[in-house]
């Protein structure tokens, strides 16, 4: 662990719209300096993506971006981040992805030159290394196409570089279904951390070379998968809450390697990254119901700098195409937060208190996103020397907070879920601080048909 102090030690400074290290984009959007911006994430309706369908694909993205920019201007939005989360074909054939970035950047530039409207593109290539089974994280042939898209996409106007990297996922998926907290910790704090180091050193390099911003990663395939499974009642919510906390150590590595934020939205690690490293963050909540339900609809906004809808297809609703509809909803959400910021610090804290109050008693996953709990848990993490220890300390601190809240009848938690708490504590306590000791403990049980330790430098 390279962070040993909190950039925001006082929970009352962990607020929406302000970050200790704001980031200014090419067209002058200042993230984390007193304004919350909408971040619109959009994707295609059910259709094939290939050379033949490229004209149709381009027509969709042209319509999505131009309509969103026009509606944002109509609504007097302060600015807009457009997240282009590529579909697989666009990373496997980088030229398709690059062509689409060029198209969107042209529209953003036009809005800027003609109307002074500031908008930026976040480029999120696919982690197509996941295609090899078992995945070869460092030697995969897919790396070339991924980094071609990063490089040429950045040059074409993809200013905020991000990715939902999947290092350690092959171990995490099974650990998740078995609710094996040690397996989760190994996948995230050992395999995930090592892969993030490898990947983000190179992404930061690309950002530096192209003069763009290394935004950050998000443990979507870990934290969000856990949340979706918990929402379906497949795994305990208390378990999903701990996965969320543990995924922080792995996503933090992007910042250690030079990412400046805004990190990506869908893993909910943002508040922790902000408390620890002071970077601006992107979060999704109630207005991402189009992508998936969640128990953190309001509390997720508590310290957001960008407010996102995770992802919506370009399908027609009565009021217009879904991306434009969601742009309007995100803009009104952020307008309300910006009105609070203009009204002063005590109003911001009051609004934040209501965001927390509305969710925090109903689900442990909301409890661990309340700013005061984020600071308490992050404070434990930065005391650790190794990532494994940080994961364990953070998870145990979260467990304490969950058990305390249940004790004070301040948190709804079924008998069945509470049955899992002692077992989780017992397994967490069995995790050694030293990575080497933990690796030694876990390697024998590893399914070597599914994962290759050497691909993580083990």
């Amino acid at each position: 662990m390279r962070f040993h102090t909190l950039a925001i030690p006082d929970a009352r400074d962990l607020v929406f719209g302000h970050a200790p290290h704001p980031v200014t984009t090419r067209r002058g959007l200042v993230l984390g300096a007193g304004t919350v911006y909408p971040e619109l994430n959009f994707t295609l309706p059910p259709m094939q993506v290939c050379r033949e369908t490229l004209p149709d694909v381009k027509a969709h993205y042209h319509q999505i971006v131009s309509e969103a920019l026009r509606r944002a201007r109509d609504l007097h939005a302060p600015g807009l981040v457009l997240e282009f989360e590529t579909l697989l074909e666009m990373t496997m054939t980088p030229s398709i992805g690059v062509e689409l970035v060029e198209l969107m950047n042209g529209l953003c530039e036009e809005a800027y030159q003609k109307h002074g409207f500031r908008s930026e593109i976040r480029l999120t290539p696919n982690d197509s290394r996941d295609f090899d089974r078992p995945p070869r994280m460092r030697s995969s042939s897919h790396l070339d196409a991924m980094f071609e898209l990063f490089e040429r996409g950045a040059a074409a106007g993809g200013d905020l570089l991000s990715i939902e990297s999947t290092g350690g996922k092959e171990v995490h998926d099974d650990a998740l279904l078995m609710c094996d907290i040690k397996g989760v910790t190994f996948a995230l704090a050992v395999l995930g951390v090592r892969d993030m180091r490898f990947l983000w050193a190179r992404i930061v390099e690309v950002a530096r070379r192209t003069g763009r911003i290394a935004g950050g990663d998000t443990a979507c395939g870990f934290g969000n998968t856990a949340m979706v499974l918990a929402e379906k009642g497949f795994i305990p919510k208390v378990f999903a809450a701990l996965v969320r906390v543990i995924s922080v150590v792995r996503t933090l590595v992007a910042v250690e390697e030079g990412a400046t934020g805004p990190d990506k939205d869908c893993g909910y690690e943002g508040p922790y990254l902000k408390a620890i490293a002071g970077i601006p963050i992107s979060m999704e909540g109630k207005t991402a119901a189009c992508a998936h339900g969640s128990p953190v609809g309001n509390v997720a906004a508590a310290c957001a700098d960008l407010w996102s809808n995770e992802s919506v297809q370009n399908v027609k609703l009565l009021g217009g195409f879904a991306p434009t509809v969601y742009l309007e909803q995100l803009e009104y959400d952020t307008r309300f937060l910006n009105a609070a910021i203009r009204d002063g610090r005590s109003t911001v804290l009051k609004v934040q208190q209501l965001q927390v109050e509305s969710d925090v008693h109903l689900d442990p996953q909301a409890l661990v996103l309340a700013p005061q709990n984020v600071v308490a848990i992050a404070g434990e993490m930065v005391k650790a020397r190794t990532y494994v220890e940080a994961a364990r300390r953070g998870a145990l601190r979260a467990l304490d907070l969950i058990e305390a809240a249940i004790g004070e009848e301040a948190l709804l938690c079924s008998e069945q879920e509470q049955g899992w708490l002692p077992r989780l504590r017992e397994e967490l306590n069995a995790i050694p601080d030293e990575e080497s000791a933990f690796v030694e403990q876990m390697l024998p049980a590893l399914d070597l048909t599914k994962t290759i330790p050497a691909e993580y430098g083990l």
Binding site: L44, L88, R133, L177
Partner: protein, 225 residues
Amino acid sequence: MTEPNDLLDRLSTAVELGKTNQAAPYPPRLRGQPGADELCREAIAAGLAPQEILGQGLITGMSRIGERFSQGKAFVPEMLLAARAMSAAMVHLKPFFASGQVRRRGVFVIGTVAGDLHDIGKNIVAMMVEGAGWEVVDLGVDVKADRFLAEIERHPSCVLGMSALLTTTMVNMEKMVGEIRGRDAERPIFVGGAPVNAEFCRKIGATFYAPDPQGVVERLAKLAA
């Protein structure tokens, strides 16, 4: 030696509670007692009919935990532990399958379609179907039509299952069903995955859509009846 009926009860409970074998630490209250592995061997040794051991012992245990799961009273890890306990017992029934003395309800071939890597949902469905007494052939992810067709060669009366989580790969699912229908109009093809729905299932000519594993198990039971 315990009473035969009592033996099958203890076997189905061991499967239900995921007590794979004597050494297994969970559940605490069965710590140190014989698990599904040992109890199944005992049942065979006691001369109980293999079909009965499979039926009353293993499948009953799985359906009890499956019932609790669909009522939201059990989580997937408990289902997986039960599935592991069942496979530990099934090892001893293998010879009876080979001899035909014991038959599975049928063969279910499942995979995530071409271009799609999402397999968590598919794995849960595979596990639940296996627990209901079906032989499951799991083709993994990014599976093209030819591999399904190859399985049909090997298992003439198998049922196919396809999973897709991406709007782009739904289009592949459509193509694959078309390709298979071209050669095998009557083959039951189940489809599922978050973006899939009944209307899409009808549109692409598949047989059955279910939003969850219980739906798959129920429909397979009707098919095999």
